[in-house]
């Protein structure tokens, strides 16, 4: 009887703790959504910041973040997918593959501020890009790379070997098999990974601090060598070091809400694709 009771107590405790985690998440989301909703308006989303960033909108920061996401994905997506193809389709199990995996997980574990340092040393200084969209995009791309590689590799692993063998058996080359059979089957899962890494990249602050982010720049960029504002950096600035922290609080809440919305949309889209796909495959 006693052991049944202790099981009951512990399982109830675990249930409560899990419930608490859900409550924590919803209180964070609720806090941002509730306070941010008051600031969101068409004007807020489409206007330049004014009055020392205490009034006006966050348009340049939204555009900046979208540009950086696009730029980082142009680099990280093709390279990451190709790397995953090589690791899953070309290399045989063994020390080489283990080494590649280890390096990918090492890269995934590198703190984002170290990416920032590296981006500054390589792109900004060594290659003389300066603080620019291209330096920031490449830095963010490096950070997204292991995410893309991992999710693509998972997606490729799920493709049944019989498809590959059938294709090869019909006389297709390896490259044809990858391009016409393996990739199309794995495609929805690869896209899920892409969307998740977009969510990740759009919220990163530390890598862009010294590679692209502008404190206050109320105009849109003209070339890839311009600086831009970005949502996460903008939130950091107006939350901690803006000209007037109390007056700009509503802007901070609004910025946080826009940022969270991007992440939420990415996550929800990814899980919808995954669920639809899960049903189709059954």
């Amino acid at each position: 009887m006693n052991k049944r009771l202790s099981q009951k107590i512990f399982f109830t405790l675990f249930r409560l703790i899990s419930l608490m985690i859900v409550i924590v998440l919803f209180s964070i989301l609720g806090f941002i959504i509730f306070n941010g909703a008051k600031s969101i308006s068409w004007h807020f989303l489409t206007q330049m910041p004014t009055d020392g960033m205490t009034k006006g909108g966050i348009f340049p920061a939204i555009v900046g973040t979208l540009i950086l996401v696009l730029g980082s994905m142009i680099f990280a997506f093709p390279v990451g997918v190709a790397a995953a193809i090589y690791m899953n389709e070309y290399v045989k199990e063994g020390p080489v593959k283990r080494f590649m995996r280890l390096m990918t997980s090492n890269l995934a574990g590198v703190p984002s501020i170290v990416f920032g340092l590296f981006g500054m040393a390589l792109f900004v200084n060594q290659l003389h890009f300066g603080d620019s969209i291209i330096a920031g995009s490449l830095t963010l791309g490096l950070l997204a790379l292991p995410v893309v590689i991992r999710t693509t590799e998972e997606a490729l692993k799920q493709v049944d070997d019989s498809f590959r063998l059938a294709s090869i058996g019909l006389g297709a080359t390896k490259l044809q098999t990858i391009g016409k059979v393996t990739l199309p089957i794995a495609f929805p899962n690869i896209i899920t990974g892409l969307i998740l890494s977009i969510g990740r990249v759009s919220g990163e602050t530390a890598p862009i601090l010294f590679t692209v982010a502008a404190y206050f720049l109320p105009k849109l960029p003209h070339s890839i060598f311009d600086q831009v504002m970005a949502l996460p950096y903008h939130l950091y600035v107006i939350a901690t070091s803006g000209t007037n922290i109390t007056e700009s609080r509503p802007i901070a809440y609004g910025t946080a809400l826009v940022l969270i919305s991007i992440v939420l949309i990415c996550n929800i889209t990814a899980s919808v694709i995954r669920n639809v796909l899960g049903k189709r495959n059954k």
């Binding site: 806090f31 990451g80 280890l102 040393a121």
Partner: protein, 397 residues
């Protein structure tokens, strides 16, 4: 023919990309360490400056700590430094007009080197620093040479003030301690909670609850760190301040609480995977012997999954150690050497983020921040390699 070339190019791209992670890790090592190694080629004295004393002064060498005390006027007598029985007189170029009038200094300070020489040779208890370009010909004082910064000193020294003049203080110790302290406490908070949730997810919850809980945990992982920082700043900081009745709420503990929330998804996911990898036969054998589900979990499953759970905890620490924005926003950014969680502190990533913008390119401060980056990189690298080793061990079991 044309198609063949295209195919060759595509295959070449695929094969090169395969090595991209390794290449980037290598490049990170090269660039970080290249910048950082410059630090150990420099003396902590401000670049282009000379440090001199009177010729009769018996002291030949002073270390950065002693120099800091001298210029902060904490050490006022040469005797405490093992020298003569006299007060220390600090003399800089700015003080020149108190000893010499304008005509003696000359037009455009042309006679300044002479004045410096004159004053230093006449004053036995003087210590002075001035730009190298003012070094007099036939200088009659004694130039003090400082040792280059050593790796040991960098790791051991307890003061981090790289922009101090004339002698920089680059001691990474307080930053390393703060970083480890905040991260460890974060994991102490997050591990029991995360493990409980992982057990619940893996063993107790039915599939309907799982489909709710899983996305919640993914979302928790997806929230940008700067949003966590903002949330912490507005909610947790005043909360901690009130509860512990502190002058400021930005403390190490505040950082630990937020970092714990952020580490939860990593811990839960990895620990849940570890619990799921326990063979069914083991679990069922225990149940068949009459053990309850809970007894099976903590007597059989948790010991079996222990290496996975360790991996979860270590990965969580790795995440917390490298987290920048939260540490920057809620831990107070004070340059304290303290083991107290209720005081403002500053972690390594927060220091880099806060100071790199103001450090001049290629200078001592700049290089010191890259050296901090190296420490951070090495810690996380070790953590990753160790976790890979743990999971490799599990597979061969």
């Amino acid at each position: 023919m044309f198609k063949k070339i295209i195919n060759k190019i595509i295959e070449g791209f695929i094969k090169t990309s395969g090595w991209v992670s390794s290449i980037i890790v290598l490049l990170i090592i090269i660039f970080l360490f290249k910048e950082a190694s410059g630090l150990f080629n420099k003396t902590p004295l401000e670049e282009g400056y000379m440090l001199v004393v009177n010729k009769k002064n018996p002291i030949d060498k002073l270390n950065p700590d002693q120099l800091k005390n001298i210029f902060d006027r904490d050490s006022t007598s040469w005797k405490t430094l093992g020298g003569m029985n006299a007060d220390i007189e600090i003399f800089t170029v700015e003080d020149i007009s108190t000893f010499y009038n304008d005509s003696m200094i000359g037009e455009n300070m042309s006679n300044l080197p002479w004045c410096i020489n004159d004053h230093i040779s006449k004053t036995e208890n003087v210590i002075s620093y001035f730009p190298e370009k003012y070094l007099p010909k036939n200088f009659e004082g004694k130039i003090l040479h400082l040792d280059k910064i050593s790796v040991y000193q960098f790791l051991k020294n307890k003061i981090w003030l790289p922009s101090a003049r004339p002698v920089s203080q680059v001691g990474a110790m307080p930053l390393i301690i703060s970083t480890l302290l905040v991260s460890l406490v974060a994991i102490l908070i997050a591990l029991p909670i995360g493990l409980a949730a992982a057990i619940y997810l893996a063993e107790v919850a039915d599939s309907r609850i799982r489909t709710i809980l899983k996305p919640v945990i993914e979302l928790l992982a997806g929230i940008p760190s700067v949003v966590y920082g903002f949330f912490g700043l507005v909610i947790i900081v005043p909360f901690v301040q009130k509860i512990f009745n502190l002058p400021v709420g930005e403390t190490g503990l505040t950082g630990s609480i937020i970092l714990a929330i952020m580490a939860l998804p990593t811990i839960i996911t990895v620990a849940e995977d570890a619990l799921r990898s326990v063979p069914k036969a083991m679990k069922e054998a225990s149940l068949a012997l009459g053990a309850t589900h809970w007894q099976t979990i903590y007597k059989v499953m948790i010991p079996y999954a222990s290496s996975g759970i360790t991996a979860a905890a270590i990965l969580g620490i790795g995440r917390a150690i490298g987290e920048t924005m939260v540490a920057l926003m809620v831990t107070g950014n004070a340059n304290n050497f303290t083991f107290s969680l209720l005081k403002p502190i500053r972690t390594i990533p927060a220091t880099i983020a806060a100071e790199l913008g103001e450090a001049s390119y290629g200078g001592l401060h700049f290089k010191a921040l890259f050296a901090l980056g190296c420490i951070l990189f090495l810690i996380t690298l070790m953590i990753n390699v160790y976790v890979e080793y743990l999971s490799g061990k599990k597979q061969t079991k």
